[in-house]
């Protein structure tokens, strides 16, 4: 009996230790980033975020170009993806909840989510880049081909699956008695979607967009391959730039000393931003599904 108790205790201990391990892992990740970026934080402080020059030769580092690049690409990508992801949410959540056509669209979106980032980059390099270059020649700007617009386009394709699948789930959660009430008042389907479903699912759709934003901010490979890698402040949507993730991908392998520390500082900011965005998104979704389950019971 005694040995059994002992094994029991050991088993519980192992479970607890591994769970604690996950917490410790995150804490240590955080600490690693902070400690490694201390030299850079000490030298540049908060001026890091408003400094416009990134020059390894003269050891002057300011992250503003990357902050602007990240914000521009991710919000532009989100803006491009919104009509598509909302259309898919409504398509799968309201018009075609089941059936062959719904399964086809849903599994296609899943396949899209499963394609590795580097392959998006490769495809973008050989199809999207020439396309953007053509547009740039028409518009009359320097035809780089790569730049913020190209990166945003590829990002928008990559984030559609995330916001669309969450959007679909919240659209399905809309209570049917609300919809029925509207139908019985004579509303058309469009009116039900516009006046009942969208307002009801608004916060869920918002959460889906937030999670997609988190993805877009942290996405590295496809952006690195298509953004043009310029360490200067972007001047427009056609201009080559760098994001926080892409500058790390490009420069970290060869960086030493204060350069490496500054790159890790950028990584720390990236980590904090995505974490905040993701936590808010997850919190909103959890709240919605809790409310929905309350209404059912």
């Amino acid at each position: 009996m005694l040995t059994k108790d002992k094994t029991e205790k050991r088993f519980n201990l192992i479970l607890k230790v591994t769970a604690l391990f996950v917490v410790a892992l995150l804490v240590v990740i955080c600490l690693t980033l902070i400690v490694a970026s201390v030299p850079s934080i000490r030298t540049f402080g908060f001026g890091f975020f408003i400094g416009k020059t990134w020059d390894a030769a003269s050891e002057k580092f300011g992250a503003l170009p990357f902050l602007v690049g990240t914000l521009l690409t991710s919000f532009l990508a989100l803006a491009i993806s919104i009509p598509f992801s909302i259309a898919i949410s409504i398509f799968l959540g309201e018009y075609f909840k089941e059936g062959a056509i719904s399964t086809f669209l849903r599994s296609s979106v899943e396949v899209l989510a499963g394609i590795p980032s580097v392959i998006f980059g490769l495809w973008g390099l050989f199809l999207l880049m020439p396309l953007v270059r053509m547009i740039e020649m028409q518009v009359g700007v320097v035809p780089h081909g790569v730049g913020i617009l190209t990166a945003s386009l590829i990002l928008s394709i990559m984030v559609i699956p995330f916001s669309a699948s969450i959007g679909r789930e919240v659209v399905i959660l809309v209570p049917s008695d609300l919809k029925e009430a509207a139908y019985s008042l004579g509303a058309t389907r469009f009116e039900v979607i516009k006046n009942i479903i969208i307002p009801y699912a608004r916060s869920g759709i918002f959460a889906g967009l937030l999670l997609a934003l988190g993805r877009a901010i942290g996405e590295t490979m496809a952006v690195t391959m298509l953004i043009g890698n310029s360490n200067f402040l972007p001047t427009g949507i056609f201009s080559p730039a760098n994001t926080m993730a892409s500058v790390i991908a490009n420069e970290f392998a060869e960086a030493t000393g204060i350069t490496a520390s500054s790159l890790i500082y950028v990584g720390l900011v990236l980590f904090l931003v995505t974490t905040i965005v993701n936590i808010i998104g997850t919190y909103v979704i959890k709240k919605i599904s809790l409310e929905a389950s309350k209404e059912v019971t």
Binding site: S85, P116, S117, V118, L122, A187, I248
Partner: protein
């Protein structure tokens, strides 16, 4: 009276209302504009058409990507491509054998590192899921899942590459295993929560100790779900490139030593795609084809297992 009738016969009521008010605003039409039933129906149809159109436009990139990979990829793939090492530029032929083996190596390495922890932490969450501690663990899983892969690459660099004085397969494995962990924990927790409570009760009532109930009854019953989670996490890391850029790095030669740089398919695709040589670009397409087949294969198998085993529950 009028209003009551109106709600039962919406179209007529709208017509009547329009006639009476000379085209006033209707609650459902969102205020303003023409509210004649014909226009509302047209609007309805236009909206439906737009939704369908936009949905299928978003599939266009997917079809194009698959088409390009298949068209450009299959042409490159032959026996030599699969079994030879890369050759320097200018020399014809060669393949990506070391990248294929390297990817398999990295998958095995990171699976070994993450699966035990992931399953154990998943059991913890499903069994003791209510407390404060479980809440914190869950939050950490969410944060870990959302952490950009490039940041995890930095961390693996600091932990392994620095102390061991050089890029290594081990550091790549560490980075990828951190990325696998949240997926495995989440799916294990979800699967075990689905297990019928009577199963545990029956086992405990027979006098089977708690740990044996978990290990011998609950865990095997939930195996399919856990396996699905593992496969999904493997699919996720197989295509990851960012954390490998400065951990496993790349290697033009065959390498079985986990303390040396190791090649992988995604890294090779990146390297070839960014090179200025058209021959290497075709190689990138070939490697992409293999990578997509592998990743989608893992996803398919995972789905297959999930549906096949669910019947037995």
């Amino acid at each position: 009276m009028e209003g009551n009738q109106g709600s039962r016969f919406p179209l007529e009521s709208a017509q009547r209302a329009q006639r009476a008010r000379g085209g006033g605003s209707d609650g459902f039409a969102g205020g303003g504009g023409d509210v004649s039933p014909r226009n509302r129906i047209i609007k309805d149809n236009i909206f439906k058409g737009a939704v369908i159109l936009l949905s299928f436009i978003s599939l266009l990139p997917l079809l194009l990507i698959l088409y390009y990979i298949t068209r450009n990829g299959i042409a490159v793939i032959n026996w030599e491509f699969l079994t030879q090492l890369p050759r320097p530029i200018g020399e014809a032929g060669g393949g990506i054998y070391n990248a294929i083996i390297g990817t398999l190596f990295l998958i095995v390495l990171s699976s070994v590192l993450s699966i035990p922890f992931g399953i154990s932490a998943g059991i913890y969450l499903s069994e003791k899921g209510e407390g404060k501690m479980a809440h914190i663990v869950r939050l950490c899983v969410v944060v870990l899942q959302g952490t950009p892969s490039i940041v995890i690459g930095i961390v693996a660099y600091m932990w392994v590459v620095g102390p061991f004085q050089g890029f290594s397969a081990l550091s790549g494995g560490v980075a990828l295993s951190i990325m696998m962990l949240p997926v495995i924990i989440k799916t294990t927790e979800e699967t075990l929560k689905l297990m019928p409570y009577s199963l545990k009760e029956a086992s405990l009532a027979l006098g089977v100790p708690y740990y044996k109930t978990i290990l011998k009854v609950i865990l095997p019953t939930g195996l399919s779900g856990i396996l699905t989670g593992i496969l999904l996490s493997v699919a996720r890391i197989t295509g990851e490139t960012a954390p490998l850029l400065f951990t496993a790095f790349g290697n033009q030669f065959m390498n079985y030593n986990i303390f040396k740089p190791m090649d992988s398919l995604p890294y090779r695709i990146f390297y070839y795609a960014m090179s200025p040589y058209p021959e290497w670009h075709t190689f990138a397409w070939g490697a992409s084809f293999i990578l997509v087949v592998v990743v989608l294969g893992f996803n398919l198998i995972a789905r297959g297992i999930a549906t096949k085993w669910k019947v037995q529950f």
